[in-house]
């Protein structure tokens, strides 16, 4: 009787923890709880679990309860840089966002952030919000010099400082402060700012090979063969100087350049020109000779034909270039 009243009084109390030994009557605060095999009326039964007092894996008595997550108490105007001052793994109790991540099993939804290992595994940038970066900049400002006010546009920078040298510095706290990647030096410049004539430019492009990008007209030299950054920088500048001077030189064997070596197609002295000239000469009834050839070359239809063939060969084929070629041929051969 006494036990019964005790039980009812216990059960009637709301969210009060009731711990009858080894059993959780209800699930307070929706926490994951251990399910046990013992039922309520087992004060006399043991079911194989010896009485270990207050110790043991399922001991609940003196464990401090976890409080509310921090997200419940975060005001909107809080200082986020205080929550995540450095790069830290994801803490679901500190991030007030209802993020979900993972594979939705059985037509469900991605699992929530609570207890989500996927969110912890991935890198996060919660420590790099714009406000945090502003604070970093403000902290670094005393150590910087001011940007020259005259260099306000990118074009002006390119004009006065065409050669751009880039290298990285690494900061880490570990057994050693050194980072071998800090020796790499990248040198970038546009070829249009160098004084190169046609032959020199083509030779330079052939000499550097992969390091030249045609779309942006940029030469990018990367040096990392020396152990010290200063040495790599000197080497890059030396390479640039050597390339420039070598491309201006004309070797004896360069005169043997064949059509296959040419970078782009030129219509003069090509089989196409010879064909069309011979065709046109045969179509004309008047005499032969240089004057006739010159006159034929000067005609606008021939110029159009030349443009269309050059476009076909240089730009590759497409429907539009084929149509242009077709119109040029038809006009030329009076169809």
């Amino acid at each position: 009787m006494a036990t019964r009243t005790l039980k009812t009084s216990i059960l009637s109390l709301g969210r009060i923890h009731c711990h009858i030994y080894g059993v959780n009557v209800r699930n307070p605060l929706n926490r994951a709880t251990y399910a046990t095999a013992l039922s309520i009326n087992t004060s006399s039964q043991n079911k194989g679990f010896p009485d270990r007092g207050n110790r043991g894996p399922f001991n609940r008595r003196s464990r401090r309860e976890a409080g509310d997550p921090r997200t419940d108490r975060m005001p909107v105007e809080q200082d986020w840089t205080a929550v995540y001052p450095t790069a830290t793994p994801f803490r679901q109790g500190s991030v007030p966002l209802p993020v979900r991540m993972g594979f939705p099993v059985k037509k469900g939804v991605p699992p929530e952030k609570k207890g989500n290992l996927e969110l912890i595994k991935i890198p996060n940038f919660l420590h790099l919000t714009p406000l945090a970066i502003k604070k970093h900049c403000e902290a670094l400002k005393p150590f910087c010099t001011e940007w020259p006010s005259a260099l306000d546009t990118g074009a002006k920078c390119d004009e006065h400082f065409p050669v751009k040298v880039e290298s990285k510095d690494y900061v880490s706290a570990g057994t050693s402060l050194r980072n071998p990647s800090a020796r790499i030096v990248h040198l970038r410049l546009k070829l249009s700012c160098l004084n190169l004539d046609d032959h020199a430019r083509k030779k330079m492009v052939k000499l550097v090979g992969e390091r030249y990008c045609k779309d942006t007209d940029t030469l990018a030299i990367t040096t990392d063969s020396c152990p010290v950054r200063q040495q790599n920088y000197d080497y890059a500048m030396y390479l640039l100087t050597v390339l420039y001077h070598e491309s201006w030189k004309m070797e004896a064997w360069e005169s043997e350049k064949t059509v296959a070596d040419m970078e782009e197609y030129s219509w003069e002295d090509s089989p196409s020109q010879k064909n069309i000239m011979s065709t046109l000469v045969r179509m004309q009834v008047e005499g032969e000779g240089e004057a006739v050839r010159e006159e034929l070359l000067g005609r606008p239809e021939v110029q159009e034909y030349r443009d269309s063939v050059t476009r076909l060969k240089n730009e590759g084929e497409s429907e539009s270039s084929m149509h242009q070629y077709r119109d040029a041929v038809k006009k030329l051969l009076n169809l």
């Binding site: 090509s270 089989p271 196409s272 064909n275 069309i276 065709t279 045969r282 179509m283 034909y305 063939v309 076909l312 060969k313 084929e317 497409s318 429907e319 084929m322 149509h323 070629y325 077709r326 041929v329 038809k330 030329l332 051969l333 009076n334 169809l335």
Partner: protein, 378 residues
């Protein structure tokens, strides 16, 4: 959405045609005797009665014209695509659709000046767009106009799968292909019977110590010799081509020469043939290819060269290639230059509708009638 419009237009044409079918179904006996051509004009929306390619024009675009059965085997002993040949056998008639590329080519041929160096025309397009059929349409036009037609059905056949490769007797480094050459000569003879006695040779050709063909003999003799003596057939082909090149467009007894080459990109490129020491044979080392290349040059006059590109059957060409420079290569393009490229596109909606009417509706119905009457008779 396009299919909706198509079916709507189809319903309209079917509605026009329906009354005839209604009467036909009830009277099957009369339907037996009915030929397709004698049906009233409502059915010929996709057919034209204009069977002469010279008289076809823009208004006939999309419609089918019939190649007269008498001409069929002489004009096309070997030019048609295999599927089309099957279709002709099934339907018992050769119907060709009048399409834009062929009409354009024919109009160029009509207006060209044949005293100038030969024009080269190149049909190009994606796979299955109708290049070979356009070529055949043009060949039909040329033969109705009385031209001499040199039709090479597929230049790729000459650069691959050749069992016998003989070293040429005429030129030490070249190779002969006797079987291909004699087959081609046989078909050439079928197409151009009437020219063979008219054209006389201008030069004496010596084949062996004891055999030669004298000057002034008719071309037919040369061709017969090539067909019978298979060993020297490749050289005969070379001689025939040379004679025709010299004599086309001549003032006395001049004829016009149409050189129609299908798959012309096979002439420049690689072959799959190997010499005895397993080194690959270049195309110019084959007599047939060497002579045909000379025909394609525009240093002769009095005719036209009509060629198609073909990726199917080509060697070492990617399957998505269809533009001229991709398939011809540098060398081929420079040899063909300047040429008039003629693009061939896939079927338009109107053409597709006409095909549908022709094959499924019209032909299907006539089959049904013939089958019913046959079973009824039995």
């Amino acid at each position: 959405m396009a299919l909706h419009r198509l079916s709507f237009r189809l319903r309209q044409t079917v509605a026009q045609v329906r009354p005839l079918h209604g009467s036909g179904c009830g009277q099957q006996q009369e339907a037996v005797g009915m030929e397709l051509e004698t049906r009233p004009e409502t059915l010929s929306i996709f057919r034209t009665q204009e069977n002469d390619p010279a008289c076809q024009s823009e208004q006939h675009l999309g419609q089918y014209y019939t190649v007269p059965p008498s001409h069929f085997h002489t004009v096309f002993p070997h030019g048609l695509p295999p599927r089309y040949q099957q279709q002709v056998k099934t339907f018992n008639e050769g119907c060709v659709m009048v399409r834009q590329p062929a009409l354009e080519l024919i109009s160029h041929l009509k207006r060209a000046d044949y005293s100038k160096p030969t024009m080269r025309y190149l049909l190009y397009g994606v796979k299955g767009s109708g290049k070979t059929m356009s070529l055949c349409h043009t060949v039909h036009y040329c033969s109705t106009q009385g031209w001499l037609v040199l039709h090479i059905p597929d230049a790729h056949l000459w650069v691959k799968n050749c069992k016998e490769l003989l070293p040429s007797s005429y030129h030490a480094s070249r190779f002969d292909q006797p079987i291909q050459a004699s087959n081609w000569l046989r078909n050439f003879r079928t197409t151009n019977e009437h020219f063979l006695s008219k054209i006389k040779l201008r030069q004496r050709y010596v084949w062996t110590k004891r055999e030669s063909t004298e000057e002034g003999r008719p071309l037919g003799e040369l061709v017969d010799m090539g067909v019978s003596r298979v060993k020297s057939s490749s050289d005969v082909v070379g001689a025939v081509l040379k004679e025709l090149r010299l004599q086309a467009g001549g003032t006395e007894g001049g004829f016009r020469l149409a050189v129609a080459v299908d798959g012309v990109n096979g002439l420049w490129g690689r072959t799959t043939l190997k010499k005895e020491d397993k080194s690959p044979v270049a195309p110019e080392e084959l007599t047939l290819v060497h002579n045909l290349r000379k025909m394609i040059n525009n240093d002769w006059c009095g005719g036209a060269v009509i060629a198609t590109l073909s990726q199917t059957g080509s060697l070492y060409a990617p399957s998505s290639a269809y533009l001229p420079q991709e398939l011809l290569g540098e060398e081929g393009f420079d040899s063909m230059d300047p040429f008039v490229p003629v693009p061939v596109s896939l079927y338009s909606e109107k053409e597709f509708m006409y095909i549908f009417l022709y094959i499924f509706y019209f032909k299907g119905f006539s089959f049904a009638i013939e089958y019913k009457t046959k079973t009824h008779k039995q």
